[in-house]
């Protein structure tokens, strides 16, 4: 297999700062680990294609490097306490490094501090935490994802052009990534000709998002774009077709899933930024091994974001931004 690196990435300096300098780097990974380390990975849940992609990344990278992997998932974004327990259990079970896809940006700081105090490297994966005790971050913030999506729109409708309405569906109220994306999106469209309607929070279940979309179309017949979670975009495709609104109402997702990918290919979805969640997963495992082996590591890094739309979709390597077809979750890797 071709190795996935070098991979175009962005480094933040100083690391872990919210407004640090962003610079382009080329990420290089280790060829293999010196011994089969035990690495534990904690996910908020394992119920959608996004986390399946991260799962693919961490599992495949663990396989490649020759380390052991144990993956736990809390069951949803409301299960902060479960995630804490699972992290404790991981460490009790002998994990030598942990990578965390955090449910809450602040709520895990204590447990992270406890783990770090035992000399166990903690890698912040995908979601981002505010803790100072982590070893490294492998992520693209959802703030940026929201902002990328907003910027894409703002560029097409700069200030001064005709105002357009956007329906906005950030996801379940209160989830950290949702609030981050919301903030990024709102800040990016500020000052442009974009008018964002009242945000419609709701669980990322298809039927929920579908109802929300229906109601927004109903309440705002002039709406021009619908932007939101991948589920929103996926669910809305059929509706747009049914209503004969293809071309009149465009769909955007602020992250990438196989459904969104197909939607873009078919021309039903306009665009979505790709945060290459597979690569984020790979980077996290690589960083963990580096930390364990005392190698140099880039402590705050993430794959470069790019917006996928019908123009570039055929040039994008799919295996980096999505789990392969037919991949099923891997909860443990033994080497």
């Amino acid at each position: 297999m071709d190795s996935w690196f070098p991979y175009p990435a962005q480094q933040v300096t100083p690391p872990f700062s919210a407004d640090g300098e962003v610079s382009d780097v080329s990420y290089e990974a280790l060829e293999s680990a010196s011994q089969p380390w035990n690495i534990c990975v904690s996910f908020p849940h394992m119920k959608d294609a996004y986390w399946l992609g991260v799962n693919y990344g961490v599992a495949d990278e663990a396989e490649r490097l020759g380390v052991n992997l144990n993956l736990v998932e809390a069951g949803g974004y409301t299960e902060l306490t479960t995630q804490i327990s699972q992290l404790e259990d991981c460490v009790a079970g002998g994990a030598q490094a942990v990578a965390i896809g955090a449910i809450s940006g602040d709520g895990l700081n204590n447990v992270i501090a406890e783990i770090a105090a035992q000399g166990i490297p903690v890698i912040d994966l995908v979601n981002g935490v505010s803790s100072e005790d982590i070893t490294a971050k492998a992520l693209v913030s959802f703030y940026t994802m929201g902002a990328e999506t907003g910027r894409y729109l703002a560029e097409q409708h700069p200030a001064g052009s005709d105002p357009v309405q956007v329906g906005w569906f950030p996801g379940p109220a209160g989830a950290g990534w949702v609030e981050a994306a919301h903030q990024g999106f709102m800040e990016a469209v500020e000052g442009s000709a974009i008018e964002v309607l009242e945000p419609r929070y709701g669980d990322t279940g298809r039927e929920v998002q579908l109802s929300l979309v229906e109601d927004v179309l109903q309440a705002n017949p002039d709406v021009r774009y619908l932007a939101g979670t991948a589920v929103t975009a996926e669910a809305a495709q059929g509706l747009i077709r049914e209503r004969g609104l293809v071309g009149e109402v465009e769909l955007l997702s602020f992250y990438m899933t196989p459904g969104v990918y197909t939607g873009i290919q078919r021309g039903f979805i306009l665009a979505a930024p790709a945060d290459s969640m597979v690569i984020q997963g790979r980077m996290a495992i690589d960083q963990a091994v580096r930390a364990l082996e005392g190698e140099d590591l880039i402590s705050h890094v993430g794959p470069q974001i790019f917006v996928v739309d019908p123009d570039n979709i055929n040039d994008v390597p799919r295996e980096n931004i999505l789990p392969p077809d037919g991949f099923s979750p891997v909860f443990s890797v033994e080497n």
Binding site: H45, M46, K47, D48, A49, W51, L52, A173, L197, E198, P199, R200, Y201, G202, D203, T204, G205, R206, E207, L210, S211, L212, E214, D215, V216, Q218, A219, P221, E234, A235, Q237, G238, E242, P258, G259, T262, P323, F327, S328, P329
Partner: protein, 350 residues
């Protein structure tokens, strides 16, 4: 008379006495006593939302509401059957998810096997979905009826097991690639201008009404829920009756799952996550007793419809999501308080 636990029991069909005063007020009062508070709440909701949003009373929105409510209406009717039998079904969501995943996987696979007989693939796939859900119902029913496990734990446990299996089957990734004609027909199709899911719901409402009021099985279900020991002494096979209740509920959930699958055009293991509590709520505000024995199909349909209508109206009126949670919660409570008030009116000879 101070309210006392005497009156706190189940709701009862006491015929209201003659109107004792004239005028519109008395009429309203009589209608209220006769049909309950839900129709009034519905009318109030329609008026308020029509004022708040001009798009609320449009034809298209009414079709939307009808279609959106189909799912909750169906599941609530199934839930009602179980509640009347004195049980609980927390696994309706899982039955929906399993149906969705299994039928989608089945259709995709069968469509590959019989590329020329798409409808055969669809029907067989749907049957596989029904089978999976009926298995859920069967396990629930056997546990509750024959092992006498508390319905709460039984269905909660089965729900956890089923969700695990559904996720295992798909890894959480939606199953796509289903035959287009499936979604086009069941999800978006129309007959005489009425969306297909709405038609299905109407058919089931009629079937359930007949079942609960016109058949022996219906009588048995009410009897078992009312007093299981007395039912046992009336030569009712209480175990079989309970088993039937869980099967019926699972089947309706399964139909809902199929409709949802057609609607979202993919098999999803996350479908129906919150529908168990929602359907119980719809039943309770419609006067179904959680102690069993009491409830009517038409009220439950109204209850479920009411909840969906309010959600739709609030969305159209651009009420913020947080506020919606507050309002919906308050409305549920209010509906039941009014119902309690009505019951007192009846008792006081209103």
């Amino acid at each position: 008379m101070s309210p006392n636990p005497e009156t706190g029991g189940a709701k009862q069909d006491v015929a209201p006495s003659e109107p004792t005063r004239s005028g519109a007020l008395a009429l309203i009062r009589n209608v209220f006593v006769k049909v309950g508070v839900l129709p009034f709440f519905l009318v109030a909701a329609v008026v308020i939302f029509a004022l708040l949003s001009s798009s609320f009373l449009t034809m298209q929105n009414m079709v939307n509401v009808a279609r959106q409510s189909v799912f909750l209406v169906l599941v609530s009717m199934g839930q009602m059957v179980v509640l009347i039998s004195g049980g609980f079904d927390l696994s309706v969501g899982t039955a929906i998810a399993l149906t969705s995943v299994v039928s989608a996987l089945g259709m995709v696979w069968l469509a590959g096997v019989f590329p020329d007989a798409i409808w055969l693939a669809i029907v067989l796939g749907a049957c596989m979905g029904f089978g999976a859900a009926l298995l859920v119902g069967l396990v629930n029913g056997i546990g509750v009826a024959y092992f006498e496990v508390s319905p709460f734990i039984m269905t909660l446990g089965v729900s956890s097991v089923g969700a695990g299996i559904a996720l295992f089957l798909t890894g959480g990734v939606p199953v796509s690639g289903m035959p287009f004609v499936f979604a086009d027909t069941l999800g978006f199709g129309r007959l005489w201008g009425i969306p297909a899911p709405v038609l299905v719901a109407i058919v089931f409402i009629v079937i359930m009404w007949v079942l609960m009021t016109q058949t022996r099985l219906g009588t048995q279900i009410y009897a078992v829920g009312g007093n299981i020991k007395a039912a046992h002494l009336s030569a009712i096979n209480t175990k079989r009756t309970l088993l039937m209740c869980y099967l019926i509920c699972a089947f309706i959930a399964s139909v809902t799952g199929l409709l949802l699958t057609a609607r979202v055009e993919s098999g999803e293991a996350n479908l129906g996550a919150s529908i168990a509590l929602e359907s119980i709520a719809a039943c309770v505000i419609a006067g179904v007793s959680l102690r069993g024995g009491i409830g009517s199909v038409l009220s439950v349909v109204l209850g479920a419809f009411f909840i969906v209508l309010v959600q739709n109206g609030m969305n159209l009126a651009q009420i913020s999501s947080y506020m919606q949670m507050v309002l919906l919660g308050a409305l549920l409570i209010l509906a039941v308080i009014f119902d309690q008030f009505r019951y007192r009116l009846i008792l006081s000879g209103g």
